[in-house]
Symmetry: C2
Subunit: 323 residues, 2 copies
């Protein structure tokens, strides 16, 4: 019986790190967005899986939200000299993960097994599951007039999320199945936590897989979200642009309504103190609200948010096992 | 009309560097062994092409005979942590070459075109041609009793060429064709130089391609070798072990007879002063002998050997264009 966290990259990895320090290893499982996955330079890259794994391994860069702390970029410099695009910052150490993953996938291993091998090699105790072994590729529609569909990483990294969002596609989603490991983890879940990740571009692709979403809906265990919106703004990244496109209010209440509409319920939501005065709109969904300082710059804040999340879970009748 | 050098890795790259400093760029073409090429970690690696290209680009490590000077090994360290074999020392910068080559080959480019793109990106003026676009893989037979065939790089790098050579196979050679570019270069050659590389494991694979060898035989232009043997020993690497296996005397005369038997002629051979007293055995093949200090630790020695090679070519009636 484990707490299952649906997570994107940066916000998800921070909450997961905090929870991993507050819970026994066997009591926590991450289901991670793979809609950002891309093929670049012939390499299979899984940005969200990597930042989650690196963060839990204590290897992640503490600020930038991607890559390994202290990594170098010697390979990338020469790749650029060969005329290959260098907008996606592949560190020298980081490359090893992509090379290993690419070769393992090509040899027939499932992404779930590759992810397991990587986290074990990096001594990560928390189980990390890709949302699916089938490819889902999130594309963002941008542009005035003639709208163009670009890969999410292209939008986020190369174009710095500067353009307004005109649409969103979870390509491959209709044909994607959750892995057996994801279904087993959800069947054994004592609660499901939606991490403070981009609701549309990180949590959205996970919940776009029908059999996965249905398993949560039918699962009856508490569903709790940690708001990625603080004081009307995204904590990090372009969540607000995606929410606006979707007609969702850029507020914890807007996000709560969005998740409620997808899953039919939202049992709890942790919001920041900055939004405490507007908790009523969330409580109107029969959602129990917890209030805490939810910004997580350092390890102390990550553990504090994890503890506040677990306290809220306990309030809604789901005490967590203590480590 | 260009001087064509058949080359393996270290010795070949040194002579080529010297010649590149003594000749106009258009007057020199390298045809390089690809029998050492291997697939490792899903990457297409061409060790001899790389050391030749890096050397001509002024990037090569000055001593070790492979890789880029000052390169780091951060990716390799993490690859090893993922359980991948780390005996083949892939530097971080070096990896860019393999990643670029792998992706280009997979997209349908010929190795010749990939090699051309790499040398141009690295500002190398000398034309570098792989011996073939078809795969040839040199395998070494080793072991007592039950003989085992291993890839040449496995023998050379992982096993440090410690074992006696029981046999040699140029796998794929019978089906391999020289590229059109190689045939054109040989048709336009004013002379063919066999670099001081391993006669059996570096020059041998090139000459094992029948149409390439036949083109040299029928070409009538002077063929000249620079001896890779000095004072009864290999300059670098295990040439002597291969010569002994083949029943070839480990001496310049032995190498001269070997090339003479393959090509029907050897018009000239540059040997080291240490072997000058045994020049008669080479001259008995109607081979003109030049004597010089042929060990090439630094740039001055490389240029001196290049000049001695060109002087010998001139003696046998083939003056080189001067830069």
């Amino acid at each position: 019986m484990s707490i299952v966290v649906l997570a994107g990259g940066v916000g998800g990895s921070k909450l997961l790190w905090g929870l991993s320090r507050e819970l026994p290893a066997a009591a926590l499982t991450a289901i991670v967005n793979t809609g950002d996955d891309l093929e670049l330079h012939g390499l299979s890259i899984s940005p969200d899986l990597d930042i989650v794994t690196y963060t839990l391994a204590g290897l992640a860069h503490p600020v930038q939200g991607w890559g390994i702390a202290g990594d170098t970029f010697r390979c990338l410099e020469l790749l650029a000299r060969y005329g290959l695009p260098a907008w996606f910052k592949l560190g020298d150490q980081d490359l090893a993960t992509h090379i290993f993953r690419t070769q393992a996938l090509r040899s027939g291993m499932k992404l779930t097994a590759v992810t397991e091998a990587i986290r074990r090699a990096l001594d990560v105790e928390t189980r990390i599951l890709p949302m699916s072994d089938d490819p889902v590729r999130t594309h963002v529609l941008v542009g005035e007039g003639a709208v163009q569909a670009i890969h999410f990483q292209d939008y986020l990294v190369r174009r710095q999320a500067a353009e307004e969002v005109r649409g969103l596609e979870y390509r491959g989603s209709a044909r994607a199945n959750p892995s057996p490991e994801v279904l087993e983890a959800l069947a054994a879940a004592r609660a499901v936590i939606l991490a403070p990740s981009n609701p549309l571009a990180s949590i959205g692709p996970i919940l776009s897989i029908a059999a996965l979403r249905d398993r949560i809906i039918s699962g009856k265990v508490p569903v709790l979200a940690v708001s990625p919106i603080v004081g009307g703004r995204s904590l990090k990244g372009p969540s607000d642009k995606f929410l606006r496109w979707a007609g969702v209010e850029v507020s914890p209440a807007g996000v709560a309504r969005f998740y409620h509409s997808l899953l039919g319920r939202l049992d709890g939501m942790l919001i920041d103190g900055a939004d405490a005065d507007r908790r009523g709109a969330i409580e109107a969904l029969e959602t129990r609200v917890g209030v805490a300082a939810t910004i997580m710059p350092g390890p102390d804040e990550k553990r504090a948010v994890a503890r506040a999340t677990l306290a809220l879970l306990e309030e809604i009748g789901c005490p967590a096992p203590r480590s």
